[in-house]
Point group: C2
Chain length 99, copies 2
């Protein structure tokens, strides 16, 4: 019943807003590489795409998944698992269509 | 003096390790787009690069900076500010060298 106190309500609303913004940002992060995967798959050309970028991203996602596991933070684990799959897909596509 | 208790020491070491992993992961995240910026700048060609990917990334960084601001988390703010600058640079390079 504490949440009926006006100040706590505002604080609670603001915290919920922050959490929602965090989840929304995480959801969009997980989709960032998707347009590149689709474009490269369609055009079968990846000459201009940086292989190093996706290798760094893949290693980095493994680090984030480790961090998420140590903190038992499933949002971080899930978000970075999706980005890891996208990064590995792009590494595969880059090696296949590097012309 | 509590940290001299063996179990708390191990817990504290593990927490420090987790924090260090988080900072290291954040530092690498901020550099992810750098190889693509350098490659595109050198080769003056960005035909195969997805514009949509970097537009999504830029909007997403603004969301993360908002989230970091609301949580007063300077690691999130700084990391995403660097990635925002890289994303805007890639949008500029893509529009300039889209051939």
């Amino acid at each position: 019943m504490r949440s009926f106190a006006p100040l706590l309500s505002i604080k609670s609303l603001l915290m919920n807003g922050t959490e929602i913004l965090g989840y929304a940002a995480g959801a969009i992060t997980s989709l960032t590489f998707l347009p590149q995967v689709v474009k490269t798959w369609k055009e079968r050309s990846a000459k201009d795409v940086s292989l190093l970028m996706f290798i760094i991203a893949a290693v980095n996602e493994v680090m984030w998944i480790g961090y998420g596991t140590l903190r038992s933070d499933w949002v971080i684990i899930a978000t970075n698992a999706v980005v890891l799959i996208m990064s590995l897909t792009m590494i595969f596509l880059k090696l296949r269509f590097n012309k």
